[in-house]
Symmetry: C2
Subunit: 375 residues, 2 copies
């Protein structure tokens, strides 16, 4: 049984300065909280989301049975991040299409829908916006910040931007920056969207169309990179969609994997905003805390004072274990308190969202340890 989650919204009239030099004002952040903040305000856990997710981390919405939050297996009463002990906060990032202010909203400066004019936001900008929201919630210091993939980058960035506000950072299936191949996949996806004639330079809303062709391609590419070779072969292999006979067609679906990818692409194109896709992939591309230190990650992470848990998955080729180990090494160079686990899981990058007894057990044990600090 899942508990009932309720989205909340906070408006921020004051301009938020962005890394690009631009700023954004009169914006709204959507968030959810689960559990209760204790009297010492010491049990707050912030959960940061990745590309296709939101503030709806756990629970279900009233009357909507199938609306489980994206990390509902991880967070809730009695779960690894136990909401009977922790006050868990999920925040939807700026530029998203799931509730917080994003490209489909109105720019207060022009009275027009932002569209492609929504300012480029970075991981650092998101963390600043999250910090402001925590101020409003009365949370000065987090027991932990937790995230997977792009969410892990935010968790890492928290420890650098607000070292005094984070006691523990749990960084799952993440990386200190994207490598060339990661950027390349993002770029192909963006080109598919931007060159879709229905994109209209990012102002498709006013044309009453959606660049669905581009979104479908973007999502298909994404899905390939989320899965491991192994799991794709186990799940689909060379299975034909219909019986045993080949159709000998270049355009009809012949293999199950084609059917799966087209379905995922179609579904995604129905709800995801094209401008949000561009913004979030760019935030991924730009994240690189070592950049200001000539590429020296150890120097870059010297500011972090939090304790860390890093987790990677053996078959994740998008953010491979090697990338997590770079973070571990840089933290150890600074003599920080780091735990690291490389989980042998077949599911590729997707593993961070899936049930795996060792993974869940590990997170559970780590949060038990955190809970003891304020129990």
């Amino acid at each position: 049984m899942s508990f009932i989650a309720t989205p909340e919204f906070l408006h921020f009239p004051q301009a938020l300065p962005l890394q690009s030099g631009a700023s954004i004002r009169d914006y709204t952040l959507a968030y959810e909280t689960y559990g209760s903040l204790n009297a010492e305000r010491s049990n707050a856990v912030l959960v940061c989301h990745a590309l296709n997710a939101s503030h709806h981390v756990a629970g279900v919405y009233a009357g909507q049975d199938k609306s489980e939050g994206w990390w509902n297996n991880m967070i809730g009463p009695g779960k690894p991040v136990d909401t009977n002990r922790f006050f868990v906060i999920g925040i939807n990032n700026l530029g998203s299409c799931f509730g917080s202010t994003g490209p489909m909203h109105t720019n207060p400066d022009t009275g027009q829908v932002y569209g492609a004019d929504f300012p480029v936001v970075t991981v650092e900008d998101w963390v600043n916006a999250q910090a402001r929201l925590l101020d409003r919630l009365g949370v000065q210091q987090l027991a932990a910040v937790l995230g997977g993939s792009l969410g892990g980058m935010q968790a890492l960035s928290w420890t650098l931007q607000y070292p005094e506000r984070v006691r523990h950072a749990v960084v799952v299936a993440s990386a200190p920056n994207l490598n060339a191949e990661n950027i390349a996949f993002n770029e192909v996806a963006r080109r598919a969207i931007v060159t879709d004639p229905d994109f209209h330079g990012g102002h498709f809303y006013q044309h009453g169309v959606v660049p669905k062709r581009g979104l479908r391609i973007a999502r298909m590419i994404g899905h390939i990179t989320y899965l491991s070779d192994d799991v794709m072969n186990a799940k689909f292999g060379r299975q034909l969609r219909e019986g045993l006979n080949l159709k000998y067609s270049t355009q009809d679906i012949e293999f199950q994997i084609e059917s799966y990818l087209r379905y995922q692409g179609d579904k995604f194109s129905e709800y995801f905003d094209a401008n949000t896709y561009l913004l979030i992939t760019r935030a991924l591309d730009y994240f690189d805390p070592a950049r200001a230190f000539g590429g020296d990650l150890s120097q870059a992470l010297a500011r972090a004072t939090a304790q860390f848990l890093l987790v990677s998955f053996s078959t994740d080729w998008r953010f491979s274990p090697q990338r997590s180990r770079e973070i571990v090494k840089a933290l150890l160079d600074n003599r920080r308190n780091v735990s690291y686990a490389e989980i042998d899981a077949p599911h590729g990058h997707d593993a961070f969202l899936l049930d795996d007894a060792r993974y869940m057990g590990l997170i559970s044990a780590y949060f038990d340890r955190i809970a003891k600090e304020f129990a």
Copy 2:
């Protein structure tokens, strides 16, 4: 100094039955030959091409300095496949856009350009067409058939379809079939092409347009899979295209890798035919000699009597060494004469086209050995 190559053409009035049940008649094959067929007709080497290549394997065209054949480093006088000793034949496959009959030609049955109605051709169909061309050239038995990637699949198929006509098969950077991930990448590329509004169901020629957006995306995806992570990081890493300052833009080029991919996509979309792309990727998807044997590759390869050299490259993740080893194992199960080399090269799948002393030395030594059989 490269020698002068001259394309030749042979017309085939008689219908070629295809694996799909369809047939194709009145077709032309473009080919080139280098060196001379010896009196015993025992020194012929057939070179099979992959996706973006043709009959123009080696040499340059008269008056066109930069027109080197795609395997000019491998084939020519004094090169690993030495045209002073071997009579080398390059054939452009049916459905290509580089000279042989393809989708942009006229269907003799309708008087219309084939377009998307060009019949689906398979690796087996190509091999049958190649065999007919060899008949016309008076080559009954090949000293060797040689190919990389999709070309390697053709070389393997030769040993199964015409075992008595092949003494040696050299199968480089290839696989006994595509895995789910390979098919998935092909499918995304095809969807990008087919959903480009300029594709017009494959009959874009009559609309005077080309689905360049789709072709660009297809090529960008292809390029990512041809390269290794290592070589991408070494060549591009996170280098910015312009100086040191970020532009903070979702659509402008920011990283060198983006610039490279866009350039490759643009170039490709200027000359490659969209229907050919669909046909060739489908031929890749369909190739699976073990299919008729319930997936048992050892049984499937029992027919082969040729001697084999298989070569793979350590960083090739498109057709990984593991896939070559599957072929080696199946041949050894049949007690065939097999040599296998796994070359430690950083360049990914592309390595099969590049200079590498050990690779070149290996092919050279193997062809020396073949030459001794008829010297």
